[in-house]
């Protein structure tokens, strides 16, 4: 559209407040946090003595951070695997011209609408192994009653399970989201493609394997990136469901950051954890944003 000078100025003024806010509160704050991570601020009172990368070196030697690092890797791997698997599976089933498709879809997706805190509180009770006096409760009791008692576990109270128990709740909450993404992806594929293949004698299995799945690759990429960035910063769910757990078996970097900064006043250490989180997410998101905004997203 042709623009007069006045319109040009007006249009800049229109977005100026937001741009200034984002510059200060996102980019300014990130730089400020990065700077704090290079200082000696480890008390209520700020101390901006420059110490170089000392906080980062200490962090990687810190046992809690090492455990967190491992936990977040385990969490991300399992969470990604089960969410995409279940999401794709449900989307394919729902696409088979199902009666009550809307109802099923709404049921699978509704956990996305509620807070991680609610999810955490409920799943903490469902995966509570019970005590000597109560015997098995929650999921364990259910498993016992349907004859799957061998699957019983001490869940998050067992250091060997720890964060993996949180994955169950996270998959419960997020897999419907992936289902919705895949379903939208499948629906955007022109019907003619699979119809033509059908005419050529392809089986349903072949149509999915050779036509639909390859065309869904961008959706998988999107889902993997969205889920990974959510899982790298997972916080609310862990706080509400388990806390750091026995021997930090449920702990994650975001929780460590909160504890050390706002409970321990080790601001510089908190800032360095935050910076590591930010960098790991930026490495993932920036190429994706470039790709996705370029392709007209």
């Amino acid at each position: 559209m042709r623009k007069s000078k006045e319109e040009r100025i007006l249009s800049i003024l229109f977005i100026a407040p937001s741009i200034i806010l984002i510059l200060v509160f996102v980019y300014g704050f990130i730089i400020w946090t990065g700077w704090i991570s290079l200082t000696n601020w480890r008390d209520v009172f700020p101390d901006f003595t420059y110490v170089g990368l000392k906080n980062y070196v200490e962090l990687f030697q810190n046992l809690r951070f090492q455990i967190d690092f491992k936990n977040v890797l385990v969490f991300t791997t399992l969470f990604l695997f089960f969410c995409t698997l279940i999401g794709l599976f449900l989307a394919i089933l729902l696409d088979r011209k199902i009666k009550y498709e809307n109802l099923f879809r709404s049921i699978y997706l509704f956990p996305m609408a509620i807070s991680f805190i609610v999810t955490g509180v409920v799943w903490r009770w469902l995966l509570n192994p019970g005590t000597q006096t109560t015997g098995p409760i929650g999921i364990n009791m259910l498993l016992e009653q349907i004859g799957l008692g061998f699957l019983k576990s001490k869940w998050y109270t067992d250091p060997n399970v720890g964060i993996k128990a949180v994955v169950i709740a996270a998959v419960w909450q997020m897999s419907g989201y992936v289902m919705a993404m895949y379903l939208a992806g499948i629906r955007s594929i022109p019907n003619e493609l699979s119809e033509a293949a059908q005419v050529d004698g392809a089986s349903i299995w072949q149509i999915y394997r050779y036509i639909i799945l390859p065309l869904l690759r961008p959706v998988t990429l999107g889902a993997v990136i969205i889920l990974t960035h959510i899982s790298l910063k997972i916080f609310d769910l862990v706080v509400a469901m388990t806390g750091a757990g026995i021997g930090f078996s449920c702990d994650v970097p975001a929780l460590f950051m909160y504890d050390t900064t706002f409970r321990g006043n080790f601001f510089a250490q908190g800032a360095s954890i935050a910076t590591i989180l930010l960098i790991s997410i930026a490495v993932l998101i920036i190429p994706y944003l470039r790709y996705s905004l370029k392709s007209g997203g």
Partner: protein, 280 residues
């Protein structure tokens, strides 16, 4: 019906049960009388419907030193309503410019704004607390409103930009020939066709601000300021609170977004998919 079709329905139903299990326990427990609540019978339906757990979760009990959630529920309302409205309007203004009044580097600036929705908020928390303390908004509901408005800008801008891109530019050109300027086109052409866009954005913002925990936790230290998610976490974290009260509290916290989801799920889904960029 063919056998394979029946199999599909069975599998779909098994998954539906998995997703509904926690909801079942939530309801079954919250509506039991105190006498009936027993961990051993957590899968059993209540014999009679009782609202005792809700009353306790809502009002609290000064005798036991238990804080009810009523005040926090209202805090969340006071916080969510203005933050949703303000951030939606900011998003609409930005979306209008980024879709229809592109300028040099506007696409770059747009992607810089969008990046803000992916950052881990941990990387802005420390300066945020410092700045809020400096300007006297720390520990207040207006402070929380402000924070949610700022960090809501990326997603609201993204959804509105995509929405306005689909409005044909010819309509704008026509309005221009009729003498409308930048502001005239916005108020007389764009805003009137924006209702579906506002529905998506406002529902998205309502849900995510209501469900937020981190900002509430860090900005609102005092119990009488905390939003409901933070209060629920405190309620569930204290060992002397019976679990039926915790469940009733969880249900109270989940109800507003669930109502929105049940009645306006269509728009909620569009917001969800907009957040996932590619594939939409």
């Amino acid at each position: 019906m063919r056998f394979s079709k029946i199999l599909i329905y069975i599998v779909l139903t098994v998954f539906a049960i998995f997703y509904l299990l926690p909801v079942y326990v939530l309801f079954a427990t919250s509506f039991k009388t105190f006498a009936e609540v027993n961990l051993k019978s957590m899968w059993k339906l209540p014999q009679t419907i009782s609202f005792d757990s809700f009353k306790m979760a809502w009002n609290g009990s000064p005798l036991k030193g238990l804080r009810g959630l009523s005040q926090n529920f209202m805090n969340s309302i006071y916080l969510v309503v203005p933050a949703t409205i303000i951030s939606s309007f900011l998003g609409s203004m930005n979306g209008y410019v980024f879709a229809k009044w592109k300028f040099k580097y506007s696409d770059t600036i747009f992607s810089m704004i969008i990046f803000g929705m992916f950052i881990p908020y941990q990387s802005v928390l420390i300066p945020m607390v410092q700045v809020l303390q400096k300007i006297g908004l720390y520990g207040t509901i207006p402070g929380l409103i402000f924070v949610h408005c700022v960090y809501g800008i990326p997603i609201t801008t993204l959804i509105f930009r995509n929405y306005y891109t689909s409005v044909p530019t010819e309509i704008l050109e026509a309005a221009k020939i009729d003498g409308a300027g930048f502001l005239g086109i916005y108020s007389r052409v764009m805003l009137p066709v924006s209702m579906p866009g506002f529905a998506v954005v406002m529902i998205w913002q309502f849900t995510s601000i209501w469900n937020d925990f981190l900002f509430g936790l860090v900005v609102a230290q005092k119990p009488n300021i905390q939003p409901i998610t933070v209060a629920l976490n405190n309620l569930a974290g204290s060992y002397f609170v019976e679990w039926n009260i915790q469940m009733a509290g969880a249900l109270l916290t989940a109800i507003p977004p669930l109502i929105v989801y049940i009645f306006l799920g269509r728009y909620f889904m569009r917001g969800l998919l907009a957040g996932a960029l590619a594939g939409t």
